[in-house]
Amino acid sequence: MYARLNSHPFKIVRWALLALLLILPPLIFENRGYYLRISPLVLMFAGLGGAWNIIGGFANQVSLGHAAFFGAGAYTSTLLFKFTGISPWVGMMAAGGVAGILSLVIAVPTFRLRGHYFALGTIAFAEILRVLFLYFKGITEGPVGLCVPFVGHSIWVFQFHGNVGYYLTALALLCLTFFVAYRVKMGRLGYQLRALSSSHEAAEVVGVDTYRAKLWASILSSVLTGAWGTFYAQYLCFIDPDTVFGFWTFSVKIAMVVILGGLGTIWGPLVGALILIPLDEWTNVVFTGNLAAVSRLIYGGLLIGLILWQPRGLLYWLSQVVERRRQNEIRMASTKMEASHE
């Protein structure tokens, strides 16, 4: 599909361009400015989308509850930092661990479910966590939310001066996420997931342990999502259950980034996040007060339009366009050759 885009010289140029593009924002934007304020969020949603894609895209197990892992990650590192002073960097690993364990817990009731049922089960799981975190006020402060204690601008406690530090952290975490997604997609697990995504039964027949494959995909996906939760907590310095465990705020948005960009592709989430997050921020700035709802109206309208036009996302559309072009070129080249033979 990407044959032309993957030809050697093109590949190097493409990677160089991408690297330049990603390293550019901290160089051209002001450290405390608005643009560098949203850039890390773009990377974060690209990363969350990339993590979601491992189970939602490759395996087609549509999760609408990834906020569960995200919120659990955010709370794990923040509570550790608050009560024991353990650096959020360590907390981030703990966050990944907790999210990974949670994914094992949720696997028990949901892995037998297919399609709509799986999506519904994951929603319920995230809601259960949200209610619990709201209820146990003694530890979590409930609906009031938690402030990440401010210690000072120090790299050791994951608190940077301005936004550049956060941007670079997000970029590193994004690279890790995409690397994992790439390895999964190209490796044995990726083939197993693709097999089961169209039919569990057929995959079982050819010897795929579908439960095991889904479990691994789910663990990888949720560990990464949990780590991003820590990033979010450190970046915004404030978390509350209704936001980090929220259906609309995270569960839906994470999946939306992927659907917009390209389901089951490596780079789709980045494309989706590059469009969706700036749009979101822009509409939030332009439409305030009574018009605040306009932003979601645009959002929803755009999503409807996109799904009707390209239910498989923008990258799929792009690859189709490229493919059609290539076919045309081949056809033209072969007619030329025939003409010269005569």
Partner: protein
Amino acid sequence: MTNLLQAIFNGMLTGGVYAVVSVGLSLVFGIVDVVNFAQPEFLMMGMFVAYFMVLMSGLDPILLSPLVFLVVFVFGAIVQKVLIERVLNAPLVAQIFLTVAVAMVMTSAAQLLFGADFRSSPTFYTTIAVHVGPFQFSLPQILAFVVSGSMAAILWAFMEWTDVGRAIRATAQNRTAAVLVGVNPYRMYVLAFAIGTGLAGAAGAVILPYSYVFPTIGHDWGLIMFTVVVLGGLGSVPGALVAGLVIGVIQSLTSVYLPTQLQNLVVFIVFLLTLAYRPAGLLGR
């Protein structure tokens, strides 16, 4: 003991409404094979339509509920025809997110049109309580229960005894066979979706005398609806009716014995457990 029985009776009253709100969702899934994540927003729409009809006509919202049903029915038919119909063969994600996007658009449109205020439409009987022995019931809830029950009965009779109802059921059972005997499945999908959403809208009118209307009220109802539908078995209409009552009672009982913040926790756990161990639902095969 009196408290316990009172809680059970109250739960059944609210459960009757849950049943009717959810039965439409189940109907749509059973026939169109799409989970309509925007179903709670159709309830919200029904409440607003009823609210403004009451303002204009001064009539009682329950009397107006057939009219509200019609309005939401037409809107639902349009949504199915213009939007849902195009993704019937698309990947699952596209179907899920199309209805999620519809929910988003409906909520934000309501916010733009009506603001985020809480509105209410009290009637003369809103605060009346009926005493039966040691128990007391709120009159609007009894009315809502009775009207919901009759709506469910009408739906059942329609599906069971009319040709159109039979055609709808035939499409759900075997689409190819239905086409062979001359049923246009797409028309049946539109009809089923419109009936399903219309019922939620009518239920909105029925609960108006005792509940507030605001654009995000759908969020409060969403998980209840899905729990009821899953407990009853996705696609099973009688299942949704029984499950509505069960969930109403469970919710009412937990609010007696547990702090209110945890009221929904038990509902969600029931939901997950049903999914895991009885995915076909209470009355499932």
